[in-house]
Symmetry: C2
Subunit: 439 residues, 2 copies
């Protein structure tokens, strides 16, 4: 083991960047022992030095290109976020043959293939473990550890903000608004939470994960996305009563051989499924591989140090030459990958949860079951609590496997009835994976 | 991406070996797409060709050294097991500069440092992902993905046989003997199950994992090991009543700064702890890192294809040059690593579960609580069901954090009482990790 110094340029020094600074300082000795290398931060690029509070001890600069060009910089770490400056600097760095570490899922979801191709051409690499699942090494697992598996499905809780909100709604019986407020107070949600609660952040992560898992050129447009922002606490309570927890899941699965069903939506997860126990800001990704079967990766999906843990691991593995070597040879986000054959959401086979507000009059249940039956939907369970006559009361129904198109048609027909108060709530259900139940 | 053919020699072709053959055949095209490489099995070394049933289509040989020496062999896969022939061939291979993939935790636990040093000297590498946790990429995670973390603790369910038996005892109310018989019937336990049920297999895996996590030269002698073979179903029932599940845990934790507490034993795991949900032959390892916090890796810990999934991943990563590069630079199992400062088990701080068989006479509870009190042990819960007077009845006690030495002393004193029927059962308890509870 030789002694080698690795120069790092940090573009952006917000929450995660400060975490990287902290880990590289605190674990300097440990990293030296483990790798034989010393990691020095040569430049910290900020937009405005006068606004970079508490960073005075760092080598601040506003000139990103000069920092990247410094011959003493071996690894460029992009933590600016967004898709404009970040893209410009990553393109600049890799075109100069400098390897880049980034946590930027938006950019990768938007232009992964182009950026990777540019890096390949210039003998540079892009490492992006921190882009999905925070500190959970899910990218590494899919790309390298599960390389011998045809991946059949990914099912993940990949947005800590949504999971925090849903956990509070479930455990404390709070409304969505109350839980969101608490998440903002505790720093788990932004002042404008749209990106998270709309499901879009989870969608971008799924684009990255599915691209790797299925060697396909997946884009956000291939996904069906529903957020948690219209979820009502009453549905969380009914779900609990029926043995389910509601989670925002990002799901990519292979159907009919080579079609992909790609979606992000609130989902009823059976309490026996290990994903049901993933609480608070934790993330987890279930992977179903042809050889491995079901595996699950669980940990902190966000936060300063967990995310920085992944960024520093990427820096180290770039410095070791391990990531560049893998990047060069593995068909990661390859330009040769084709767009997936996407299953239209109407053709999805799933189980469903319906909550109808029905007038409690004779014959209403017969109307409901007739419409469902005519659409080929068979019921798994019905829940209706006692109520006074002549009021709208909730009727909760779960179905066996059904076709989404038929379910949507049924809901339209149901909502057209005078005895039903529209809109009927319709959520998807996943069960305990078969694998998990027995042994 | 060039087209490259990688020659593989398979030493041993039992359950896992056949799985490797199968994956390399079935996923030939997938592996080529992902890596640009073709993997060819050049030799399958068996002890007796006439006994190698169903392997006639393979290039069988009994000459391991000739197979290793073949210049067309790039990777040697050792799946013989045990510590004699396996050791001989691994030493031979690496001394010739050939990289080795092995699943042999016994050998690594016994002579990891020597073998790794020999490989380093000869510019070869040893990959061993399949040695712990079957298909779960826990070795890779600890060595590379969590490289930026000081590891504070590992808590794992790493023996599928024991977990299968305990799950059956818990879910079906079976006795140990019944559950063992079923495990043997379903192929989850050997005819002689000693290695598994004694906790020794888990101990060997913990030696490997702890060596990596703590960069220390851990040996089996450093571990306190108790198996599941004397566990009684009644304790599983009482544990359940108190909100716990009994699991065989392998635990390595940093205490008092730089001491290591290393142990394998049946443990009461709080039902809120995600490890409590790891059922059947599944394995899981919780890792607590200084930056990452709590992370969990879950999946099939044994079985043909899951283990072969890890072996093939190792073959691929050796062929990519990625594992050799990491192996050369990371202080994996380094000869420079020191033996750990081991915490004597008597000094362990833990919570405990005691089941006493006490004569139901006046004053007996006073005697018990006096002895515990005098030894500085404070009670967390007591459970005693109604029973007839003048019989031995079970009294179950859980303690707050206590010193193991004091607990052992108390048990000796209790067992000396005429009103107590020895031996008192004493198990350790772990709670929901603090991290997991809130957010």
């Amino acid at each position: 083991m030789g002694e080698k110094t690795i120069g790092v340029a940090l573009l952006g020094c917000g929450v995660v960047g400060s975490g990287v600074v902290r880990i590289l300082a605190e674990q300097r000795q440990l990293l030296r022992e483990r790798t034989g290398m010393t990691f020095d931060i040569r430049h910290v690029v900020v937009r405005d030095k006068s606004k970079a509070r508490g960073l005075d001890h760092l080598p601040l600069t506003t000139d990103a290109r000069a920092a990247i060009d410094d011959p003493n910089v071996d690894v460029v770490v992009e933590l600016i976020g967004g898709t404009s400056a970040a893209r410009e600097y990553i393109e600049y760095a890799v075109s100069k043959g400098k390897s880049v570490v980034t946590a930027n899922k938006s950019l990768l979801a938007q232009r992964g293939p182009e950026l990777f191709a540019l890096a390949q051409e210039n003998n540079a690499c892009i490492a992006f473990e921190a882009s999905c699942g925070g500190g959970i090494p899910i990218i590494e697992a899919i790309m390298r550890s599960l390389v011998a598996n045809r991946i059949d499905a990914l099912v993940g809780i990949v947005n800590g903000t949504c999971n925090f909100i849903l956990t509070k709604m479930t455990q404390n019986g709070w409304s969505y608004e109350q839980a969101l407020k608490q998440a903002q107070k505790e720093g788990f949600a932004e002042a404008d939470p749209t990106l998270d609660v709309s499901g879009r952040d989870a969608a971008q992560k799924l684009v990255v994960l599915a691209s790797l898992a299925f060697n396909a050129r997946v884009t956000e447009r291939d996904l069906h996305v529903e957020g948690i922002d219209r979820l009502q606490d009453i549905d969380i309570k009914y779900a609990a009563e029926m043995g389910y927890v509601i989670k925002l899941l990002a799901i990519a699965e292979r159907v009919h051989g080579d079609q992909l069903a790609l979606r992000v939506h609130p989902t009823l997860v059976h309490k026996g499924n290990v994903l049901a126990d993933v609480s608070g800001s934790f993330n987890a990704v279930s992977v179903y591989g042809s050889a491995l079967g079901h595996a699950l990766f669980y940990g902190r999906g966000a936060g300063q140090l967990p995310t920085a843990s992944a960024v520093v691991a990427d820096i180290v593995n770039v410095a070791l030459g391990v990531t560049p070597l893998a990047f060069k040879q593995l068909s990661v986000f390859s330009a040769a990958n084709r767009p997936p054959r996407v299953l239209p959401i109407e053709e999805l086979q799933s189980r469903y949860y319906l909550r109808l507000m029905a007038m409690d009059v004779p014959g209403v249940m017969a109307q409901i079951t007739r419409i469902l039956g005519e659409n080929g939907i068979s019921l798994s369970a019905i829940l209706q609590h006692e109520a006074n006559l002549n009021q709208f009361v909730p009727i909760v129904i779960t179905t066996h496997l059904a076709n989404e198109g038929s379910v949507r048609r049924s809901v339209m027909q149901l909502d057209a009835l005078k005895t039903i108060q529209a809109p009927t709530v319709c959520l998807r259900v996943i069960d305990q994976p078969k694998e998990f139940a027995g042994n």
